[in-house]
């Protein structure tokens, strides 16, 4: 008897989502889908607004990484106001934005590791769901819980002192930034009382990474075996191939490491990327145009970034990068759960970069904004914590926005998440008549590895709520499981 399994809600970038899994007559998984069930309509309702509102308007898509949207919009507007892309800003303008961005990567990655994934690692992924959450971590590992909270706090304070507010800041403006860093602010981050100083953050980031590596060595077979499949990978890289989360050229590699998008300028990203619309989800499915829908989909985020870049431009993270790359003999890493490892290497890298920036006297200078000749179209890309983020705007002679196109990080991971869900569902549910908690948690873990945006917030406070319903072929509910 053919059946359908529904898992809902899975929370996501634009609200809630759910999973449906269709089983055929032999109880094998025939099809699985991750549906995104909310719709906002930003593309349309920002039309007619003055362009300079975009960085503060569009970040309200997402309160989890608003800095990414704030800066991607600002970068697109840099082009529009004639300040150029990337290095067209003043040193202070670009470096203040970089500090804001790496502060956000740091807080977001810390949040994801400590609040979201650590319950699975510290308490066991098969632990009682009632304690498998951040409260369980706080009660059983109070020192580690405090580290997580304080690392997130440090990142949030960096954001507050660069963007003006912790959530939905106002610091980046077209062509630059509206404040520099004072000596007092700088010294607070460099030499603040423990634990809120940058050296402590580097130490703790490193210890989180060492903890995960230890866990990996003990559980290598399980971690490697969980949802691995070949895919393309896409991200920005610096012109010399270095990892750069704020600016660069677009590069994509295939599962073997061959470059399939060779360091192109992102201003005409629409020549390379296209999106498919499917009737069952509000989230579109991007793919590389020249490879087509079937073969052109790709992953973004920490896993993809460490597959596309050639090296990491900070010493401690580079050392860790070499150890990480050795596991796959330098080839692209296609193991879903290795995303956690890659994310922690980026956490350490972000802390190192913040220290370099804080020691840079350019942050204290007062030349904040660049100007040029206005044009009517601009594209801004950056690497958000969860992957490549695309903002594209057109304006008219009245400075009103006439077109906005956004491809957010989690949208880029739409097909990979569906693939992962399918992989895990086939392995865990095929041939089974009943859904158990461990099966459900495996589906959660497959989605969770991508740190999809709103579920990140859900996880920030505990674990992802799932509601699984099983239907027979006629649509009658035959089993119902709630976490």
């Amino acid at each position: 008897m053919a059946q359908k399994v529904t898992i809902e809600p899975v929370t996501r970038v634009e609200g809630h989502g759910k999973v449906t899994i269709h089983l055929d007559d032999n109880m094998n998984v025939a099809q699985s889908r991750l549906h995104i069930v909310e719709f906002r309509g930003f593309e349309r309702f920002v039309q007619g607004r003055p362009y300079w509102e975009a960085p503060v308007l569009v970040q309200r898509l997402c309160g989890i990484c608003p800095v990414s949207h704030h800066l991607a919009a600002a970068k697109a507007l840099d082009v529009i106001v004639g300040a150029g892309t990337g290095h067209g800003l003043t040193a202070t303008g670009e470096k203040m934005r970089r500090l804001m961005h790496y502060g956000q990567i740091f807080q977001s990655h810390a949040l994801h590791f400590f609040h979201l994934s650590s319950p699975d690692f510290l308490l066991g992924y098969d632990a009682d769901p009632a304690i498998r959450n951040v409260i369980g971590v706080a009660l059983n590992f109070p020192d580690l819980a405090v580290q997580g909270v304080m690392m997130r706090k440090f990142g949030q304070e960096i954001i507050e002192h660069t963007a003006g507010k912790k959530v939905h800041g106002t610091g980046a403006i077209p062509g630059g930034i509206n404040k520099n860093l004072s000596i007092e602010e700088r010294d607070l981050f460099l030499h603040g009382a423990d634990p809120l100083n940058i050296d402590k953050m580097i130490e703790w980031a490193d210890s989180a990474l060492q903890f995960f590596k230890g866990y990996y060595m003990q559980n290598r077979a399980t971690i490697d075996d969980f949802a691995h499949f070949p895919s393309n990978h896409l991200s920005l890289v610096r012109k010399d191939g270095a990892l750069d989360l704020y600016h660069g050229v677009l590069r994509a590699v295939d599962a073997e490491g061959n470059k399939i998008l060779n360091d192109v300028d992102y201003q005409d990203y629409y020549n390379y990327i296209e999106e498919e619309v499917k009737s069952w989800s509000y989230m579109k499915f991007p793919y590389l145009k020249h490879l087509g829908k079937e073969k052109g989909w790709y992953r973004v985020g920490p896993l993809a970034r460490l597959n596309t870049c050639d090296f990491i431009p900070s010493p401690m993270a580079q050392k860790e990068f070499e150890i990480y790359k050795a596991v796959t003999n330098g080839k692209p890493n296609n193991y879903c759960l290795h995303t956690h490892w890659a994310r922690l290497i980026e956490l350490l890298h972000s802390a190192e970069i913040m220290k370099d920036l804080l020691n840079d006297p350019d942050l204290l200078k007062t030349d904040l904004v660049s100007k040029g000749i206005k044009v009517h179209e601009g594209v801004g890309l950056l690497e958000a914590p969860r992957g490549t983020l695309f903002h594209h705007y057109k304006i008219n002679d009245n400075d009103e926005i006439t077109m906005a196109n956004l491809i957010v990080s989690t949208t880029n991971n739409n097909e990979p998440m569906n693939q992962s869900v399918n992989f895990v569902a086939k392995r865990a549910m095929s041939g089974k008549a009943e859904i158990t908690e461990p099966m459900k948690n495996q589906v959660e873990m497959a989605i969770r590895a991508y740190d999809p945006c709103l579920s990140c917030a859900t996880h920030a406070l505990g674990k992802m709520p799932l509601d699984i319903k099983m239907y027979d072929a006629k649509g009658n509910e035959i089993d119902h499981y709630k976490s």
């Binding site: 529904t6 929370t11 609200g15 809630h16 759910k18 449906t20 889908r33 549906h35 069930v37 909310e38 719709f39 906002r40 309509g41 593309e43 349309r44 309702f45 309200r60 898509l61 997402c62 309160g63 989890i64 608003p66 949040l111 959450n133 409260i135 706080a138 819980a145 909270v149 706090k153 949030q156 507010k165 912790k166 959530v167 939905h168 296209e274 999106e275 498919e276 619309v277 499917k278 009737s279 069952w280 989800s281 509000y282 991007p286 594209h392 077109m403 196109n405 945006c453 917030a457 859900t458 996880h459 920030a460 406070l461 505990g462 674990k463 709520p465 799932l466 509601d467 709630k482 976490s483």
Partner: protein, 182 residues
Amino acid sequence: MSKPIIATTSLAGCFGCHMSILDIDDRILQLIELVEFNKSPIDDIKTFTKQCDIGIIEGGCCNSENVHVLKEFRKNCKILISLGECAIMGGLPAMRNGIPVKECLEEAYWGGPTVGLNTEKIMPNDPELPMILDKVYPCHEIVKIDYYLPGCAPRADLIWAAVVALVTGDELNIPYELVKFD
């Protein structure tokens, strides 16, 4: 006396208000001491298991599912708080209220420079997707709301002061500069 019970949810919001709750930083450990959590992302109780004292709502209502969840909260919570601009007045998502939904959908799925191949004019319309409402509604237009905490997002110190006052019964003393209407 048993601890007061709190439930929270995010409707048509961006989760920024929940992030601001997290911005109470290490006071979160005190909060766990002060209150018990029921239906909330914090402990993943998906449906109410008992009557709650305080329900905190982020976001307004943009689809049928939001309305359903909000009514559940009213039924199960003695006090409801609208947290942030979206819950209080629809917020940024309500910018679509002056525009027909059809136009928003057409722009998102048929317009733009990267959906060129959607020649069949596919539009998300699956029965699995909840119904979009004609407008984004603030929470108090759907159910009775008892308290409002403004801001986008409300500052962590404001949330902390309000929750502590409610659960301890102490007089609410919020400094003027903590209340923002951004």
